[in-house]
């Protein structure tokens, strides 16, 4: 049942500092592009009554390189990333992911910070960030901390982020090796991923997969097997670490077999 809008209250922040002060004083749910928040309100699944609109914080709407680290501001939209020469040069798999998010309208509004904070295991940018060992930058009033992306999620839609914190950026160190991305959605556009794989093939392999577990996961055993053994051995390792479930969008069996096929394809295509 739709959330009763008259019960909701929203504030707008005009600077990051102001936003963090507001969050220090009272818990509020941040709203960036609102593409996830609106869906939640429409289905009445958000318990939150108080919101903080951070869309106006242009400080967070940046894409820069700082000491060889690509810094994606939390309000960077998919459209911005697709248009960015820096992202194109350093993280082309993010561009592939961004191009396949929803449709143009969603790409114009949806932000990387929102995708990260929302924490859906099907978030399409998440495997990219997990595979390239990104770091999430969190700020609260007067404090900042950095959390490895692979340690950011603690369970289904659960993160280490506190209620007084904002994601302000995500940092991506230089990625050496070939990047590879494949989304398997329910249709060609406006689709939620059933399996989404990002891979980097450098010295060894870094492989992250979304939609097959409560959070995005790195296939660490598979990565190890690929570094030392054959592709077939890696597949044995993969079968041991991938345990998806059935839901209304797909089946465990499909997800498992397709993950296997795609990791194989990744390895063959990046050879």
């Amino acid at each position: 049942m739709k959330t009763a809008l008259s019960t909701l209250e929203m504030r707008r922040a005009t600077s990051v500092a102001e936003a963090l002060e507001i969050l220090r004083d009272e818990p509020r749910m941040p709203i960036a592009g609102a593409t996830d928040v609106y869906v939640g309100l429409n289905f009445g699944t958000l318990p939150e009554l108080r919101y903080l609109d951070i869309w106006a914080l242009d400080e967070l709407r940046t894409i820069t390189v700082n000491e060889d680290v690509l810094v994606l501001g939390a309000l960077a939209t998919y459209t911005m990333m697709v248009a960015s020469a820096l992202v194109q040069e350093r993280l082309p798999m993010m561009i592939e992911a961004a191009r396949q998010v929803g449709g143009p309208q969603i790409q114009n509004r949806g932000t990387i910070g929102g995708n990260i904070a929302n924490g859906s295991p099907a978030g399409d940018s998440l495997p990219v960030l997990a595979a390239c060992d990104a770091v999430v930058v969190l700020q609260s009033a007067g404090a900042e901390r950095r959390v490895k992306f692979t340690e950011f999620y603690t369970g289904y839609r659960k993160t280490v982020m506190r209620r007084d914190e904002l994601v302000v950026a995500v940092e991506v160190p230089r990625v050496s090796g070939r990047q590879w991305f494949r989304k398997v959605g329910t249709r060609a556009a406006q689709a939620i991923s059933k399996v989404v794989v990002a891979g980097v093939r450098g010295e060894g392999a870094r492989i992250a997969v979304g939609s097959i577990a409560p959070t995005v996961i790195r296939l660490t055993a598979t990565e190890r097997a690929l570094a030392t053994g054959s592709l077939d051995e890696a597949m044995v390792a993969l079968r041991g670490e991938v345990n998806p479930i059935d839901d209304i969008r797909s089946t465990a069996d499909y997800r498992k077999r397709v993950t296997e096929n795609l990791v194989r394809r990744f390895w063959t295509e990046t050879a």
Binding site: I248, T251, Y254, R265
Partner: protein, 700 residues
Amino acid sequence: MTTAVGQSVSRKDGIGKATGATKYADDLHFPGMLFGRTIRSTIPCGRVKSIRMDFDTSGFTIVDYRDIPHRNVVALIDEDQPYLVETEVRHMAEAIVLLAHEDREKLLGANVVIEYEEAEPVFDPERSPHSFKDITIEKGDVEDALASAEIVVEGTYRTGHQEHVYIETNGVIAVPEHGGIALYGSLQCPFYAYKALRSVLGNDHPLRVIQTETGGGFGGKEEYPSMIAGHAALLAVKSGRPVKIIYDRVEDMVATTKRHPSIVRHRTGLTREGRLVAMDVDVILDGGAYSTLSAVVLSRGCIHAAGPYRCDNVKIFGRAMFTNTPPNGAFRGFGAPQTEFAMEVHMERIAEQLGMDSLTLREMNALRPGDMTATSQVLKQDASALECLQEAVRRTDYRRKREELKGTNRGIGLALFYHGAGFTGAGEQRLASKARLDLTATGARIMVASTEIGQGTRTMHAQIVSDALGVPYETIEVAQPDTSVVADSGPTVASRTCMVVGKILERCALEMKERLEGMTPAQYHAKHGAFSIVKEHIQPEWMRWDDDNYQGDAYATYAWGCDVAEVEIDRDTYEVRPVKVTAVQEFGRPIHPALAMGQIEGGTVQGLGYALLEHVVMKNGAMANPTLTNYTIPTTLDTPELDIVMLENHYDGGPFGAKGLGELPMDGPAPAVVNAIRHLGLDLRDIPAIPETLIACASL
């Protein structure tokens, strides 16, 4: 000479829709209006033990079955479905209590607690103890012919639910008026809603039903609006105020009708060269919890079950089974897409088993003029199966491609199909539709109950009248259907609005022209004032139909089609992408080429969705994925290149030679796609062919 017919004139409703000026049901507001909400069952089978209003009821209007002034039954065919549950619950989301309030948020916040005594539900139509309707079509001696056939091929084919996904969800407003009710609604059949309201309210109240501008129907607004109209009317009668009920997408998907799932079994006897000598077809439809239109959906499904093929010995046995799921109902194609799917995939399998090419098999057996259908109807010159097949094969270079693509990740497949236009058998005669044409000061006004639901009814009717009357298209007006003023031209269903109603209008216009004696409408009107012409449908005198034995002329004419689908598979993910679809269709002639093309394109894409994407996930008797996120219809990017060809073969009984077109395009895409997937080497017999199904398919 025609100046409007055959031209893509501007739509009567074009400007309003393109500029956003057009008002739909949810845009309308009436003074003092309340909003209505339906409290629904949360179990699939059982009894209501108690109902408690767990909220402050002040300002609320509350209705249950005891408030019904007349009969608690949705008047349709079998009259088994109540407006509101008394005690027995037969499916999930069945209406039990109605609430109305002027504040939408208060309304949504109201909590009604219902206790049930649950019973064991039936979900599998094959295990159901109850059939709503059995139909047998029999010609020749099937068992004999099967016994002596050189080859017998068997197979079972399944299709799933399909949701209509009209852009505008179901919605109505009931407005108290002169001691009765005026019902405004998004609907296809104003007089169905009228009849249903009579049944629930009785005969003491004046009643009228006005169709509001309607954002799509596809059959989903044929019978269902009778339910929601009754609910709004009950709330309006009790409160004495206008009541608006608009479903949101989830409610619309969970509670309203869908296409009947089917299981079709074929046993077919052939000669070694591939001539059909016996066809034994068993059709099971999942009807859901009430009969609604299942009997007639089954009827059309069975009549089309032997496909566009000739065979002397045919037996078709069909049943529409009860299950504890929301009733399935009318949906573009009305049973034919299910049975023609089975037939066309079966033809492919027959060819595989005979080791012959399926094109030759179809060519050899396709119905030609003079041949007899399964109901022993002798086809006239307007039968075009072979022409469609040959044109589709030629355009797509089918034989060469079929060879060339073998062993690649591309496949090509084909389906041949047909669709009877208008009501079945004596249906049109019984319906006896009427149309009226009024002379106005500037031209003429069409007064029919046929609804514009996006498909172009107004435009097409105005074109026909314009040319028959010999006046400019712009001078023809079309009245918004209001049962108190328009003629009952019957429901807007069954591909009948152009062929049947258009023909009556043509006759009205011709008679009006005679009365004008060479004057223009303006001249005549200035001199003598207005007049009206009313005409009734005339059944072609050659038509014979035996409803007890299902033999005879099932339809006055048929439209024909052949679709070729080319698909590409990703062998790692089992995603199948349609690359190109060629649709060759013969439906008499297009009155409005652009609109006709739109019907074929839209129907073809709806058929592709049915084939590849649209998966209604049922859990405990209810749709578990009732959102546009999780029930995936095709987007533009899922839509392949379409090559549409409109062949002409005029039908004398239709206006300017036109037949029916609305449903035909829905019949072909699913079997064409599945046959293309078979060409890729996968033994697929069911739809939707989602990747999860394909990954489990055996290789051929």
